[in-house]
Symmetry: C2
Subunit: 326 residues, 2 copies
C-alpha cells in the first residue's frame, strides 16, 4: 500500500475487516477443497479495491447500516470467481506473486470453486433483501462473462480499434466497478439519478484502472505487480499500449507487428522487439493520457456528489491510480 492512500484504507479498515470475516464465515463448514482454494485466493493479498468502492459509496451518502458489508462481500466473491475462471482461461501461472489456484489445484477445482463463490455472492445479495442490488449485480455478472468472451474472440487481433478495446474493458472490468459503486448508492437509499451517477463513476474508475493495468503489464516488475510481466503480450491480448503502438508504426513495422501477433508462441525476443517499438512511439505516455481522460470524467462526476470527506478520498484514490504507472 502506498502511503498516499493509507489513510483511506484506515478509514474503512473496520468495514473491510468485516468483509473478510463474512468471507471466512461463508467458506467455513464447507468441503475442504472449497475452503482451501477460497482461503488461498482471498488471503493472497488482494487490494479489496472493489469492496472498498462499495463501502466508500455507501459512506459517501452517510449510510450507517450493515448491508454494505454484505454487498461488498458479494462484489469480492464475484471478483474472486472471475479471477479463478480467468486464470484457467488465460493459463496464467502467477497471480499477485503467487502460483495461481489452477496451477496448485488443477483446472477442474478452479472452475467448480469459482462456481461456488459465484453462488455465494448471490446468497449474500439475497440476504440484503434488496432487489435493485440483486438486479445490478446479476446484470454485471452476465456482462463480465460476455466481456471475457469478447476478449477471447479478438486474441491476437492487432487491428482491434480503440473503441472495441474500451467496449471490452467496460464489460470485463469496469462493469463490476460500476455495479459496486451503484450498489452503495442503492443501499444508502439515494434516488435513481444518483444511482446512475455512481454507476458512471465506477465505470470511469474501472476503465482507467484497466488501462493502467495494461500499461503495467509492459513496464512493471513481477514484484511490484505480482504477476508476470508481458503476460498479456504472450497470451496475444491486444490492449491499449499495443493498439497505440500499432497505430503509430510505419508500414514496415506494422507488418512485423502483425507477424509477431500471428505467432502461436511468442518469444522473449519478440517481446523486447515489440517493447522497443512502444518506447519509440511513446505509447506509454499516450495511453496514460487516455487513462487521465477517464480519471477527469470521474472528477467531474464527483463534483456533482455530496461534498464531504469521503468525496475527497475518492478523488485521492483516482490520483493514486494514475501514479501507479510511475
Amino acid at each position: 500500500m502506498q502511503n498516499s492512500i493509507k489513510h483511506i484504507y484506515d478509514y474503512i479498515s473496520n468495514d473491510l475487516s468485516q468483509v473478510d470475516q463474512t468471507i471466512k464465515l461463508c467458506v467455513s463448514n464447507r468441503d475442504n477443497t472449497i475452503k482451501l482454494i477460497s482461503d488461498y485466493l482471498l488471503e493472497a493479498g488482494g487490494k479489496r479495491l472493489r469492496p472498498a468502492l462499495t463501502i466508500m459509496s455507501a459512506k459517501l451518502f452517510g449510510y450507517n447500516g450493515n448491508n454494505h458489508i454484505k454487498i461488498a462481500t458479494a462484489v469480492e466473491f464475484i471478483h474472486s470467481a472471475t479471477l479463478l475462471h480467468d486464470d484457467v482461461v488465460d493459463e496464467s501461472k502467477l497471480r499477485r506473486g503467487n502460483l495461481t489456484a489452477h496451477q496448485k489445484w488443477g483446472n477442474k477445482r478452479s472452475i467448480l470453486v469459482g462456481d461456488f463463490l459465484f453462488s455465494q455472492a448471490f446468497m449474500m445479495m439475497v440476504d440484503t433483501k434488496s432487489l435493485p442490488v440483486l438486479e445490478v449485480l446479476s446484470k454485471a455478472a452476465a456482462i463480465i462473462a460476455e466481456g471475457e468472451v469478447m476478449q477471447l474472440n479478438v486474441i491476437n487481433n492487432i487491428k482491434l480499434s480503440r473503441e472495441q478495446y474500451i467496449k471490452i474493458v467496460s464489460a470485463k472490468t469496469a462493469e463490476l466497478f460500476a455495479a459496486a459503486c451503484k450498489a452503495g448508492a442503492i443501499i444508502a437509499e439515494q434516488n435513481e439519478e444518483t444511482w446512475q451517477l455512481m454507476y458512471d463513476l465506477g465505470m470511469n474508475i474501472g476503465i482507467a484502472f484497466q488501462i493502467i493495468d495494461d500499461i503495467l503489464d509492459y513496464n512493471a516488475n513481477v514484484k511490484k505487480l505480482g504477476k508476470n510481466i508481458g503476460d498479456d503480450f504472450y497470451e496475444g491480448k491486444v490492449t491499449l499500449p499495443t493498439i497505440i503502438t500499432y497505430e503509430q508504426a510505419i508500414t514496415k513495422e506494422k507488418k512485423k507487428i502483425i507477424e509477431i501477433f500471428n505467432l502461436p508462441e511468442k518469444t522473449k525476443e519478440d517481446f523486447n522487439l515489440f517493447r522497443e517499438l512502444m518506447y519509440k512511439y511513446k505509447a506509454e505516455a499516450i495511453v496514460t493520457k487516455l487513462a487521465s481522460e477517464f480519471i477527469n470524467n470521474c472528477h467531474k462526476i464527483l463534483d456533482k456528489l455530496p461534498d464531504n470527506k469521503v468525496r475527497n478520498m475518492f478523488k485521492e484514490t483516482l490520483d493514486y491510480q494514475i501514479k501507479r504507472v510511475f
Copy 2:
C-alpha cells in the same frame, strides 16, 4: 419421449414453449459466441426435465400467473451452465449424442458461456421479484458446485460408502430438482410446510433419477442415452452400481477392482471385466431396488399433496423413471 408420459409433456407443452422462447430472447442480441454455444446446448434435445418440474409444481397448486416460466427458465439456465462446466471438468466428448460444447468451441468458451448462463439465471429470478425463490435457487447453485467438488475428490475411490454416494448425488444432482419443485410451491403462494414437502419430493426424484442414470451408464447404448456408455467407469466415477459390485465381490475380486480403479487409464477390457462382475452379483437389480425406495418416498410425499390431475402426472413420471432401466 416414451409414449407413457407423452400426455404429460403435451399438458405442459405450451409452458415449455414459453420457456424456450424466454431462453432464446435472453441469448439473442448477445455476443455471437454466447448465442452459438447457448443455442447448441439448449437445442440439443434436452428433456427440459427440471423446468418441467417447476411448471408441474406450480400447476399442482393451481398457479396461473407467469412467474413459473421465469423460474423454469432460470432452472434450465443453471442446469445448462453446470453441464457446460461439468463437461469441461469430466473431459466428456459426447452429450445427448452430440459433441460436447468444449469439444466444439474449446474449454475457455465453455467456462465463460457457462458463467454467462449462470448470471442470466439470476437475472431471470430477480425478474420474479421473489426473494424466497432467489434464496432457494442461489443456495442450490452453491450446493451443486460443492457436490461437484466432493465428487472430484473421491474419483477412483472404490471404497466410497453408499451414504457418501447419496450425499454427493443429493448435492450435485438432486438439489436442483428439489429447488425446482420448491420454487413452484413458493410462486403458487403455498405455506412453508408445503415448500418443504415439495423440496423433499424434488430431492427424492433427483436421487432416484441420478441412480438410474448411473445404472444406464453401464447398460444403455449410446443411441438411447445420448452419451458414451462407460463414461463414468473410464473417468473413475464411483457410483452405486460400482459400490454394490465391490461390496458383494469376494476378496480376490475386490483386489482386482481396486487395481482397475487405480489405473490412470482404463481399457475396454477393464470395463468388460468389471461389467461381468456386475452381472455376476446382479448389481443392476440391487441398485434398481434402491432407486425404487426413493421413488416410494416420492409417492408417500405426493399423497400429502392436493389430489388432482397434476399429482397423477407426477406419479406417472416417477414410474417412467424406473422404466428407463428396462
